[in-house]
Amino acid sequence: MNQRSSLNRRHFLRIVGAAPLALRTSVARGLPSSPRLAYVGSGCGEIYVFHIDGPNWTLKQIVACKAPASLTVHPNRRILYAVNQVDSHQHLPTGSVETFTLAPDGRLAAFSKTSLSLSATLPRHLALSPDGKRAVVAIHGGGAYNLLALPDDGQPARIAGILKETGCGPNALHQLSAHPSMALFDTTQRRVLTSDTGSDRISVFAVDETSLTVHQRFATDAGSGPAHLVLHPKGDILFVANHLNRSLCSYKYDPEQGRILHCIQRVAEDTGGPLALHPSGCTLYTTGGGEDDVIQAWHIDRTTGRLNRLQSWHQHSARSVAITAERNTLLVVSDTLNGVLRFAAEPTDGRLHTPNLAAEVPEPFSIAMLSDPV
């Protein structure tokens, strides 16, 4: 069942060269069309905008953006938010969130830049509420969360609430203080699930117009360093990748009560990196391994919530730093390959096919997709 590949960057480039063949293959299989646009954040201080036509990615634009660690497209498809993972903004110790407007062809235009709260250094991730009215920023360096109000009158985002965290863990190198890594709205939109790599904690916060308040704290294994989160589309299973002990845990979550109930399963094999879910809800994609270069697909048993491995790809020297899944595609951002790997996925169960290097981006570390409207 497991497939192991060991492709280097040169090999991927050859595959890119053979893209038309791949496209024909895709069409021959009758897969739906791919997402229309991809935005890839680069550590070189830029966002790369690609137009996507199946396996063919065409670079449309490069725009300046200080350090886009997280990219999120607003549900209205007219705004892109970029979290700048910096420790200083306007001479103050804080990060920023940059807003871009999207032209009809997907091109970006810088619109505004919102300074985060004082001491909100190295923000890492932004979660947008499904209604697009609020966002929560996980601030890794400064150990805090910022609640942003997103006015629909075209005004820039503004800080509506601040939650300052404390916490530590046994790992003296990485856990001397709280380090929030990610935030995720649950299906009710009233709560946010968060991971804190520094304090071995996942939390549930209640969200209202002006505040984030702690609803539940849930301790993970000491030294685990929870980082990446995904929530099953049904809203009842939370998958957590633990960055420090390189493991994966799934938790039963009660969205009505806003409570993490119990751990369903722990997986320690080649996990701990970024996660993505196939939209079908049948398959979880994980990354991990010693070099974050193992990509795996797991079948999710909806009855028990347990995972069974479907596939495993060891992309030698292709360290994964971000992934995102669409119905027929899994995209893996690799900073060692300086590019984006594209796996074709079976639309029904998310099973993956051999990847190609879809795009070259220097020092990539984030990605967002703009799919065709459903």
């Binding site: 110790p93 601040i162 300052k164 203080s177 002006t210």
Partner: protein
């Protein structure tokens, strides 16, 4: 238990702001609640509650922070220590234990009446011990006795550990000496909550002092006269001011903007090193130097420097050479010198000077103190030039305190005060232009222009006169803490005792 003031409390409007009426800048920037603490136990409870609620605490004792470090705290909590205002609280002394909420004048009065000692602190009577001592603290007796923080022997402080638990500590030179050193001058509100300052010894104040005042009217003032005045002033403190026999003399030259009309003035408080005024030779020699610049010393008419002026109606008039001065007992003089001015909008800057003024500096100051800007009222704009040095400059204190400016002879405080928000831009423009221009002259360091960077002439800035404008220079920490080992040391202390950076403001030590 702490008293908690929320927005619906009638006290909130008064208590959510400090002395500088510029802050909080907007309603959104204001703290959500204020915790008034009457005991150190209250402070611990309040701090734990604030931290556990995920709020940011900002710490206030007297409310005189020049910048937005306390009052701008959007949605957060101000931990107010103004009611921790006891001295020794019934315990015997020494050691002298001073609460952070003790206002300086009250502290002087109580220390003097009970124990016959004083703190060599400042002249703004409602400034409280908390911010004053933790940022160094200096005043009229500092040339004779050093800084307030130089006398500090222990503090009680609340810190927050990695897991968010409040930890009460008592630190001194033997116990957690690193944190203790950081509490001796690095500035307030950035490491923890100091609930008590302890001093094994404090100096005795002078028995008496002589006060003098010289007026320098703007009418008839020329640039050449102005240059001569500043050079005369600076050269004295650069040379004669180093002599320990002069350390009992403190002078402040208040250069007010010409728009205010009237006059500039210099106030002097003098005593001999033994705390008496038996020999006025040094004072007379000093005053004589200014005869060429103004008139002989005479009692002030009350329009001079608010904090220090020999008033016509105070003390015993005394002819000292050609000068008329006033002899007063120290407590009366100190009482007269401790007014605090009203809360207005204000902007401040500072600079330490190791030498007197160059001609270029003096001319630059003249230019800006006579400058007009259309539609900008510059009344209430002044530079206070304080004599400095003496006992402050004991080099052995470099290693045990966090005040690194130990070679200066003058300290400048640039100030402008105004009433209305619509005047902000003009006022800020004036003071910024003055400062940048002054420190971009021929003697400025080419890599650090616009700042009093460390050189043969300057020693950076004073953290108790914080200036957010300095943040635009990457080397701002070195301006305040020097370019040696102190700032890295303070960063180590910060990471150790405040690992979650609970206590932060725009110019707190960066972890």
């Amino acid at each position: 238990m702490p008293i908690i003031i929320t927005r619906d409390d009638p006290r909130y409007v008064s208590l959510q702001k400090g002395h500088n009426a510029r802050f909080p800048e907007t309603e959104i920037d204001a703290a959500k609640r204020i915790f008034l603490c009457e005991t150190s136990a209250d402070a611990a409870v309040a701090l734990q509650q604030i931290v556990s609620s995920g709020l940011r605490p900002t710490i206030r004792s007297g409310g005189h922070c020049y910048e937005d470090f306390v009052a701008n705290n959007p949605g957060g909590a101000i931990l107010d220590l103004s009611l921790l205002s006891g001295i020794n609280d019934g315990r015997s002394a020494p050691p002298y234990r001073i609460g952070p909420g003790v206002q300086l004048w009250n502290g002087y009065l109580e220390l003097y009446k009970r124990y016959g000692v004083t703190l060599p602190g400042g002249t703004c009577g409602t400034v409280a011990a908390g911010g004053h001592i933790s940022g160094g603290g200096y005043g009229l007796l500092s040339r004779l006795h050093g800084l307030s923080s130089d006398w500090l022997t222990a503090v009680e402080i609340l810190t927050v550990n990695g897991s968010g638990k409040v930890v009460p500590r008592r630190v001194d030179a033997r116990h957690e000496a690193d944190l203790f050193r950081a509490c001796r001058g690095a500035g307030g509100g950035g490491l923890g909550v100091i609930t008590s300052y302890e001093f094994d010894k404090l100096p005795q104040p002078p028995v008496e002092v002589v006060e003098a005042y010289i007026s320098f009217p703007w009418e008839g003032m020329t640039e050449e006269k102005f240059v001569s005045l500043l050079k005369t002033f600076g050269e004295y403190w650069e040379t004669h001011g180093q002599d320990p026999e002069t350390w009992g003399m403190f002078a402040v030259l208040v250069v007010s903007h010409q728009a205010g009309g009237g006059h500039m003035g210099m106030s002097i408080q003098f005593c001999n090193p033994d705390g008496t005024c038996r020999d006025l030779t040094i004072l007379n020699d000093y005053l004589d130097r200014f005869l060429q610049c103004g008139s002989p010393a005479s009692p002030a008419d009350g329009t001079g420097h608010a904090g220090l002026a020999a008033r016509k109606d105070a003390g015993d008039p005394l002819c000292s050479g050609v000068h008329i001065v006033r002899r007063r007992n120290w407590l009366d003089a100190t009482a007269g010198n401790n007014s605090s001015g009203s809360s207005t909008r204000a902007k401040y800057k500072s600079a330490y000077m190791k030498r007197g003024f160059t001609e270029a500096e003096a001319r630059c100051i003249y230019k800006h103190m006579t400058r007009t800007i259309p539609n900008v009222d510059l009344r209430g704009s002044v530079i206070e030039m304080d004599s400095y040095g003496g006992a402050i400059n004991r080099k052995e204190l470099l290693e045990t305190t966090s005040v690194v400016q130990r070679a200066s002879v003058l300290k400048l405080q640039f100030m402008t005060f105004w009433g209305e928000p619509q005047d902000d831009a003009g006022r800020l423009q004036w003071i910024r232009d003055l400062y940048k221009d002054l420190y971009s002259g021929p003697d400025s360091d080419s890599d650090h222009k616009e700042t009093p960077w460390w050189s043969s002439r300057h020693e950076g800035c004073y953290i108790n006169y914080p200036d957010r404008d300095m943040l635009s220079y990457t080397y701002w920490p070195q301006l305040y803490y020097g370019h040696g080992e102190l700032y890295p040391f303070l960063q180590t202390v910060k990471r150790k005792y405040d690992p979650n950076n609970i206590f932060h403001h725009a110019m707190s030590i960066r972890p």
